[in-house]
């Protein structure tokens, strides 16, 4: 037998354990919103990528891994974006991407769940809880929300720490459409 024909049965054997492995499909979005001078601004992270192992019946095995490029984060306002990606906020030249990982999941009833994960942003790793709904199907959908303290991660620290100008709480929302991992 060739090595290849040996590999195939192995993969088939391993497949059931990985049945709930997903990757992100088109139609997904990761957005954020905050306030500046009393007015709400919104932005998005194009190019974020999600891998998710999830079976509502086996939360102990669930695993979420999201990578978020920062140099392309945009609010739709060039003046804001320059500052946002610059040294005082995301410092995307130094910290190219943020990452959110979670292995602890809780059922909140019905299709609602919470992930107690860790956000690594700008060289700081801190716990962040993501609450989400899970819509199963051929293309399951995760729709979730989290609140991130920008100052906990040094985003807009120093002179920009004034929460009268930019409040600390940043609302993050995501909708991820999944397809089974190849």
């Amino acid at each position: 037998m060739s090595p290849r024909s040996l590999l195939l049965p192995l993969l088939l054997f391993a497949a059931p354990a990985l049945a709930a492995d997903y990757v992100q499909a088109p139609g997904s979005a990761l957005t954020f919103a905050g306030k500046y001078q009393g007015e709400v601004f919104t932005g998005k992270f194009p190019g974020f990528a999600t891998r998710f192992s999830f079976d509502p019946a086996q939360l102990a095995n669930a695993k979420l891994d999201v990578t978020i490029p920062l140099a392309t984060a945009t609010t739709g306002n060039d003046d804001y974006d320059g500052e946002l990606r610059g040294d005082d906020f995301f410092a995307s030249a130094k910290f190219a991407q943020a990452r959110y990982t979670a292995t602890k999941f809780r059922a909140l009833g019905g299709d609602r769940f919470a992930a107690d994960g860790t956000l690594s942003l700008r060289g700081v790793s801190k716990p962040v809880t993501l609450e989400f709904t899970w819509t199963p199907g051929a293309k399951p959908v995760l729709a979730g929300k989290a609140t991130v303290s920008r100052l906990a991660f040094g985003v807009g620290g120093g002179d920009w720490a004034d929460t009268g100008l930019i409040p600390d709480a940043i609302a993050v929302a995501t909708k991820v459409v999944f397809t089974p991992a190849p």
């Binding site: 500046y36 009393g38 003046d79 804001y80 002179d159 920009w160």
Partner: protein, 194 residues
């Protein structure tokens, strides 16, 4: 002192509007010309926010002033003023009123076109009055400054005319825009004596 405008001089309300707006414009123009050179950062944002707040204040005062002017009327022309001078002065006053509105409104449009919030002294927000548009922002940025310089030029001519009337014509043109007794208008006194 009468609140409304008696026939021979400006009343207290009109005088207050006039001089308060003069002071605010001088401060506002100075801030506006200097703030662009500040280093980017929260301090610059705070100065811009202050400039915008003062601009909105001037616009609100201009509205109130115009309404008051329509209600309270204006004194008769200073006796002895040639008709052509009276006409030029009226045109000047009209132009100053137009600019008193145009300068802050152009700033408001500029701010809206840039997509920035507009907050009055941190207390409440005002809506955008134009779409977020790069070209419109560039255009109104120049317009705002040119309108400002036009206002300054006309206001300087207006002030020079008042000084000329006071110093060379010796009439009450300037004195009657100030509280009674602050300035002597010799020709008025002469007339009173005569």
């Amino acid at each position: 002192m009468s609140l409304k405008n008696p026939n021979e001089r400006w009343g207290a309300v009109s005088q207050s509007f006039h001089w308060l707006i003069v002071l605010l414009l001088l401060a506002q123009g100075t801030i506006g010309l200097l703030m662009g050179d500040m280093a980017r950062g929260p301090d610059k944002i705070a100065v811009y926010a202050f400039h915008k707040s003062v601009g909105i204040t001037i616009l609100a005062l201009a509205v109130a002033r115009l309404l008051w002017r329509l209600y309270a009327g204006r004194p008769a022309p200073v006796p002895g003023t040639p008709a052509w001078q009276e006409r030029v002065a009226s045109l000047m006053h009209g132009a100053l009123y137009v600019l008193l509105f145009a300068v802050p409104i152009s700033g408001w449009v500029m701010n809206s076109a840039a997509g920035f919030p507009l907050q009055w002294f941190g207390l409440f927000n005002l809506p955008s009055i134009a779409a977020h548009d790069h070209d419109l922002h560039e255009f109104t940025e120049s317009l705002h400054e040119w309108l400002f310089w036009t206002l300054i030029a006309l206001a300087a001519a207006h002030a020079a005319a008042a000084a000329y009337h006071h110093l060379f014509q010796h009439d009450a043109t300037l004195a009657r825009m100030l509280p009674r007794g602050w300035l002597h208008a010799p020709s008025q006194e002469n007339r009173d004596v005569a």
